[in-house]
Every structure is written in structure tokens, then in C-alpha cells.
Point group: C2
Amino acid sequence: MSRLKPNYHHGDLRNSLLKAAIDLVERNGIAKLSMREVARQAGVSPGAPYHHFKNKDALLTALAEVSLWTLDELSTQAKEGCKTPQARLEAIGVAYIRYATDHPALFQLMFSYARDDVPSDLSDAPVYRVLASVVREFDLTGEAHIAATMAAWSLVHGLAVLVIDGPLRHLAHQPEQVMQLAKAVTAHLRL
Amino acid sequence: MSRLKPNYHHGDLRNSLLKAAIDLVERNGIAKLSMREVARQAGVSPGAPYHHFKNKDALLTALAEVSLWTLDELSTQAKEGCKTPQARLEAIGVAYIRYATDHPALFQLMFSYARDDVPSDLSDAPVYRVLASVVREFDLTGEAHIAATMAAWSLVHGLAVLVIDGPLRHLAHQPEQVMQLAKAVTAHLRL
DNA sequence: AAGTAATCTAATCACCGTTTAGATTACTAC
DNA sequence: GTAGTAATCTAAACGGTGATTAGATTACTT
């Protein structure tokens, strides 16, 4: 019946909390995430997380940020091996849809708990900058470039959301059908 | 100091609860909605709502359903006065974006608490059926028709989400700029 | 008018987000 | 090393929340 000595210094609690939160969100969804459960999973008292995150919202915002940059990196990697701009654009789209269907809860989190500080320069924003860099290869200028980038992003983002939550959500766990639909849909994008 | 007689039969509590919930969601967002506050706003005890909705999720799902059909109706009305298929499509898009920016919380609710029963026939699904009916005028067949409808929906839905929550959310309260962007973006849709 | 179903209240439970005071550990400068 | 300070965590508490239960009241049916 020996009590464990309280662990007053965890070492890297902030990251442990983020990791635990990601785990729980992916398993149970955003709605069921509780600070106390995150603390439990990290093996720490209920009040401990509040030394690293001001409140639950701050935790979720941090999570959204992490996820956004993860998706940014996945998209970047995806386009690397491709030769033509079209191929790069398609690769990004595929990576995007794949992330959305593989991690639906995190994907939703990214856009419902986005941080309030919008980068003044759009080309600093995660995901946007990747898409914009590829769209720029299509030789557009100024406003037209922004519109084209947003069009590409809107199309693939909308598809992702609709496949996860829309009337086609029964396809969510049939990757090959989703990809086939993605190809057919993105064929309607004119650059 | 007379106590009011308990109102054992409210009359139409279910609808009153839905109305109160819509009000609260639009004012404070989805996250801050509580069953007890809905009950309070409807002037009823904390347990009363559970006779009309199995749990909080069921309330939110019902709310999502209501909002979906509201949007469906708005879209239908919007296309009525238009002469060409292109004009009808554009009118639906405008109505869609307008609803999203006017009622962002409800708009998000529609797609995060969508009911689990996917209509076996897609043409029974709210919003989809409206879009599909217009896209059908473009003379496409079978799979191509579905893909085209999803492309149109994806584009406008993605734009709505990105304007509300994405890197362009500072535009959310500048309708004219949003509409301008919407036009520029939807111009990239090829049917 | 009696009996049954529907509707709401009151009370209760476990859980949650958050705050506070205090204990423990690490860090820094002499 | 050791004193002092900052950082980190615990323990305990507060009000609020989702949900369940038993029972009171009202409406409905025949």
C-alpha cells in the first residue's frame, strides 16, 4: 500500500499533454475530450495542465496549430516527387483528402479552433502557402493568383468535409472510392 | 411571495427548446451551449428537455437537421427568379455563402452534427438535391452528374468554411469583398 | 368518471473546467 | 555548498453540467 511519490517535475509535460490530447481526440472525438482525462492520461493531477495552457480552448487551439502544420508538411512532402505542376497540385489534393479521412477529428479541429492571429502575410499561413506556391507556377498575377489558390483549396477542402460529414459519408472508409471521386471532382477545376 | 404553479404541460416544449437552442447557439456558439441553459430559456426545469431529446447530441442533431432544411429552402428560393442554369447555380452559391457568413455557428453545426441516417437516395438529401437539380440542366449522365454536383458543392462549401474559419476569416464581416471573392473563385468551376 | 399515458418537477449523481494555497523540485549566484 | 528564487506539480474546493430517477400533475381515451 505504498503511495507513489508525487512527480513534481514531469520533464516535458506540455508535449505529453498535447500527445495525450491528440490520442484522445482521435479515439473519442473533439466533443468528448476533457482536460481531466488529458491530465489522467498524462499521469498528472487535474490542475497541472493549467500551468501549460490557460484553458481548454488554448489546448485545443494549440492542437489545431500542430495539426495544421502536420498537414502542411504532408502536403509539402507529397508534391516533392512530382514533375509537372498539375501532378504537384493533384498530389497535394490527394494528401489533403487522405489526412481528412485518416484523422477526421483532428481535421475538423484544425478549422474550428483556428488561432485568432491571422498571419498578415498570407504566404506564411500553413497549407495556404503550399498550395499558393504550386498555383504560382500556373503563371497568374495578383488577385487572380489568390482567387485561383482559394479555388483549388476550396474545392479540395469542401470535398474533404462533405466526404467526412456530408451525404457521402458512407464512403469515408472506402479510400479507393473516395480517391476516384476526388479525381472526378478535381477535374472540374479550371486554372 | 407566491410561488408560480408548475407548468406541467407547456404546450409545445419541443419546438420551444429548438428555438431557444438556435438562439443560444447563434449568440454564444456551439461549444457554450448547455442543456440547462436551453431549459432555463424555455422556462422549464433542467430535466424537462430529456423527455423530448434523448440527450444533448440528439438536440444538436435535430438542430442540424432544421438548419439543413432551412438552407435547402433558401437555396431553392434563390434560384427561382433566375433564367439561365448558370444564373441559378450562381444564385445558389450566393445564398449558400450568405447563410454561412450570417449564421456561422449554425452552418458549422449542420456538418458536425449531421444525422447518421444517410438517405439511400441522394436526391432526398437536403441541399444536395437542389444543387443536383440545377446541375442536371447541364446535361450530364450518371457518374459524371454526381461528380459535377459534388464539385459545385465542394467549391462553394469549401469557400464558405475557409472564409469563416480559414486564413481569410478577417473578411467574414465584409460581405461585398466575400461576394467578390466568391465570384472570382467560382469562375474556376468547369461544368 | 376511471384509468392510462404524457408531461413536467425535484432531487440526486458523477463528472467537468477552473482557481487557490501550499508542497516539492530545479535553477542561479555567490 | 547553500541561500534565495522561479518553475512545477498536488490537493482541495467551487459552481456548473449531462443525465437519471421517483413522483406529482395534467391530458386523453373509452
